[in-house]
Amino acid sequence: MNRPEREAAARRIMERTPPPLPPGLHADVVRRGGRILRRRTRTRRLLWLLLLAGVLAFTVWALTARPWVEPPSDPTPPSIGW
C-alpha cells in the first residue's frame, strides 16, 4: 500500500460512527462563554482601578514631598569648645 492509499484507509477508519450532537450544546456554550466574557470585563476593570489608584497615590506623594525642590543647604556645624 502506498502513502495515499494508507492515508485514505486511516481516514475511513476515523470517519466511522460520528457521535450524536448533544441537544443543549449551544445553551451550554453561551453560558460558559458569557462567564468568560464577564470574568474578562471584571479583570479589565480591576486593572484600570489599580492603575488609577497608583496614579493618584503618586500625584499626592509628589505634591506633598515636592522632590523637585532643591533641599535647603545645611547650616554650618555648630562650633564646640569656644
Binding site: 481516514r11 476515523m14 450532537l21 460558559r32 462563554g33
Partner: protein
C-alpha cells in the same frame, strides 16, 4: 445608537448559533477521536468541545475575518495537548487507562491521535500542525506515518483482561 448596538448583538448571536449548529458535529467527532471515547459516551470530548466553543464565543466580535472553525480547532488541539500528559500518561505509561476499546483510535497514544486527527481527519497542513504543537515538521511527519501504520496494522494485544479474570478463580 443603542438600538443599532442591540441589533448588531442579536445578529452576532444568530451567527454564532448557526456556527455551532454547523460546525458542532464535526468538531465533536474530532474531540471524540482525540479523547478516544466511545461515540455515544463521550463526556470528556463534550467538555473539551464546550470549552473551545465558549472561547470562540467570547472572542466572536474580535475575530476580524479569521475563520472561527479554525480558531476553535486550534484551541481544542492545544487544550488537549496540554491536558494529555497527565490524563493519558507520559511515554506510553498507562496510556490505555482511560481509553475506550470501542474508539477507532484506541491503539494509539494521545500524541499520535492528536497528530493523526489533525493531519488526516481535519486536513491541517504538516507545517501548521507542527507550529501549533511546537514540534519540528520532520517529527510530525514521522509520528503521522507511525500512527497510520499502527492504526492499519494494530499490534497483537496482550491477553484480554476478561479471559484472565475467568482463569484466576479456578
Amino acid at each position: 445608537m443603542r438600538e443599532r448596538h442591540a441589533s448588531q448583538a442579536a445578529r452576532q448571536a444568530r451567527e454564532f448559533e448557526s456556527f455551532v449548529a454547523g460546525a458542532g458535529g464535526r468538531l465533536l467527532h474530532t474531540a471524540t477521536l482525540l479523547t478516544a471515547e466511545a461515540p455515544d459516551d463521550n463526556p470528556r470530548a463534550r467538555r473539551l468541545l464546550t470549552l473551545s466553543l465558549a472561547h470562540t464565543y467570547a472572542s466572536w466580535d474580535r475575530l476580524r475575518g479569521e475563520d472561527p472553525y479554525d480558531r476553535t480547532r486550534r484551541y481544542l488541539a492545544t487544550r488537549f495537548a496540554h491536558g494529555a500528559w497527565y490524563r493519558y500518561g507520559v511515554l506510553g505509561i498507562g496510556r490505555r487507562a482511560r481509553v475506550h476499546p470501542a474508539s477507532a483510535l484506541a491503539v494509539l497514544t494521545a500524541q499520535e491521535r492528536l497528530i493523526l486527527v489533525l493531519r488526516l481527519y481535519e486536513g491541517v497542513a504538516e507545517e501548521q500542525a507542527a507550529s501549533l504543537l511546537g514540534l519540528p515538521v520532520e517529527r510530525v511527519h514521522a509520528i503521522c506515518d507511525r500512527a497510520t501504520a499502527t492504526l492499519l496494522h494494530p499490534p497483537r494485544r496482550p491477553a484480554p483482561a476478561v479471559a484472565e479474570a475467568k482463569v484466576a478463580p479456578s
